[in-house]
């Protein structure tokens, strides 16, 4: 009886998610160009994930992007929310609505907007030139050193609002008495933050890190539209390598191995963050 209720959902889920996931694991053990018969290579594709310089670089870029997508937004949002706990301000609802908007706009649109901001004659360079920093102005997305941070900063822009909204919700649950107690003990703003606010936000921080780290690893859209991995391969990331290898250079097995590695990374990081947060509370 119950199985009939579960059946339609599981049928679609099984056929179009579980089966492909299993097939990805199988494909990752072969060398295949997508057309001619595949050759069994065992774990060679995974060895490449660790040993191949291009792939190692892609995973390294992902680590840099985690700083921009997860670490910076979390720290900035904590600092912002800390300044806001001390007073009830008007317009909080409007503030929340505005800060959350980047989360709902398609990444392709975000990429279009930021490509223009970073353009050689775009607003960013204009501002720099107008304050006399002509030497700093450059074609940001065409620069081997600055393209990756430029892409990462877009991640910071998208994720900061999410973190702020999350932390504001958490802060609103802290009982007033805790602040008063801290103040009676003579705590200043900074000590109040570390003894009252930060411990109360443990759960929210864990959720924020989970969501933003996953976003940092699944940023195919942004990289594809903004830089296509370039210049050279300076902004390529694992999710972009999956696409490039499978559909542009005909290395399907390697693409599948990168995809499986990426999935494992997401599982491990998600469980790891939750585990650390839980251990802290008990």
């Amino acid at each position: 009886m119950a199985y009939l209720y579960v059946l339609p959902a599981y049928l679609v889920f099984g056929l179009f998610l579980l089966v492909p996931l299993g097939r990805a694991i199988v494909l990752s053990l072969y060398e295949w160009n997508g057309l001619t018969p595949a050759t069994w290579v065992g774990l060679d594709n995974y060895r490449d994930v660790v040993a191949d310089e291009g792939l190692r670089a892609a995973f390294g870029h992902a680590a840099v992007l985690i700083v921009f997508y997860a670490v910076i937004p979390t720290v900035v949002a904590l600092a912002l929310v800390a300044t806001m706990t001390r007073a009830r301000l008007r317009g909080l609802g409007f503030f929340r609505t505005v800060l959350f908007v980047p989360q709902v706009v398609a990444m392709v649109v975000v990429a279009v907007a930021w490509r223009q901001i970073y353009a050689p004659d775009g607003p960013l360079n204009e501002v720099l030139r107008s304050i006399g920093l002509d030497g700093v102005a450059r074609a940001w997305l065409g620069d081997f050193t600055y393209a990756l941070p430029a892409v990462g900063f877009v991640g910071t822009w998208v994720q900061t609002g999410l973190c702020v909204v999350l932390f504001l919700a958490g802060v609103s649950k802290i009982p007033r008495e805790l602040y008063e107690a801290a103040r009676i003990d003579g705590a200043g703003a900074i000590r109040e933050f570390f003894t009252v606010v930060l411990p109360a936000l443990r759960n929210e921080i864990s959720v924020a890190l989970t969501l933003t780290v996953i976003a940092a690893l699944r940023n195919f859209d942004l990289v594809y539209v903004m830089t296509s991995g370039g210049p050279g391969s300076s902004t390529t990331v694992p999710s972009y390598e999956v696409y490039r290898r499978a559909f542009e250079i005909g290395e399907v097995g390697s693409a599948a191995a990168v995809a499986v590695s990426l999935t494992v990374m997401i599982f491990v990081l998600t469980l790891g963050i939750t585990r650390v947060a839980e251990r802290g509370t008990s």
Binding site: A2, V12, P20, L21, M84, R86, V101, Q116, L262
Partner: protein, 271 residues
């Protein structure tokens, strides 16, 4: 209480953040509204719909929007019906294997599109399903059903047991209890799920990019990416296209923002 100056500093910081969040999007809107040949400023002195009309023609956004509407509608309808049924079973019935089946579904929520898109393409090509609506709808339904079942199960578990038992005592079967009693009172939970699935489907990029080559099957974000490749020099046109693509989700967000925020934040919190 805090001092007046601290209060003003707070407002200043908040306004700076709000401006930072809005600036890139406002710059798109203002560039789209600025007449051709004028330099766009954040608040255009003269506005025009010309860019929109031209982008609509050149970029064929009418076709792309139609595909996006059809795909989103199919995914939302299928995912909602399937998730409500499965969520009801997981939330209210006990059956052998239910825990295992549910945990596999939870893992499914975490599987990134990147992991399934490669085998999906080659297997669907094998059976002639690439370049069809099915190739866009079914994989996204599978992803949505994983989240939807998780979400609806939480609702059915928390909803009032007495109401359900009263209905069952009145002789209503599971099927009737579900659709004529539980679903109507579960509207808020369902609305949250529906707006999230709509947003994810509308904004999805990788699946359409890989699955379709036929221009008439391009979704709005995919169409925009191709449009950008062709009209890099004219930002006014490109901005108009971008605004067209973003608008439907932003409008829904403005009306139902509580659902968006609640769903995205609570959906991440495992029990």
């Amino acid at each position: 209480m805090i001092s007046r100056s601290e209060r003003w500093v707070n407002y200043l910081i908040q306004s700076a953040f709000a401006l930072f969040a809005l600036y890139p999007l406002l710059s798109v809107v203002s560039a789209a509204l600025t007449p051709q040949g004028q330099v766009p400023t954040l608040l255009p002195t003269q506005i025009t719909g010309g860019n929109f009309a031209e982008a609509w023609e050149l970029g064929r956004f009418g076709t792309y929007l139609r595909t996006s509407v059809v795909v989103s509608a199919c995914v939302v309808v299928l995912a909602t019906i399937f998730s409500v049924m499965a969520g009801y079973a997981f939330g209210t019935m006990r059956f052998p294997g239910s825990a295992l089946l549910f945990y596999v579904l939870l893992l499914g929520i975490m599987v990134p599109t990147e992991a399934i898109v490669v085998p999906l393409f080659f297997d669907l090509r094998e059976i002639g399903l690439t370049n069809t609506l099915w190739a866009l709808v079914l994989p996204q339904t599978a992803q949505s059903v994983a989240f939807g079942t998780f979400w609806m199960r939480a609702y059915f578990r928390s909803s009032s047991r007495s109401m359900m038992e009263a209905a069952r005592l009145d002789g209503a079967g599971h099927w009737r209890t579900l659709w004529s009693i539980m679903v109507p009172i579960g509207r808020p939970a369902m609305v949250t799920m529906i707006v999230l699935v709509f947003m994810w489907t509308w904004n999805e990029f990788l699946i359409p990019l890989v699955m379709v080559t036929d221009e008439s099957l391009r979704t709005a974000p995919l169409g925009l990416a191709f449009f950008q490749g062709q009209y890099t020099s004219d930002f006014g046109l490109l901005a108009a296209g971008a605004a067209i693509v973003a608008l439907p989700v932003v409008v829904v967000y403005l009306f139902l923002q509580r659902h968006f925020i609640r769903g995205m934040l609570e959906g991440a919190v495992k029990e």
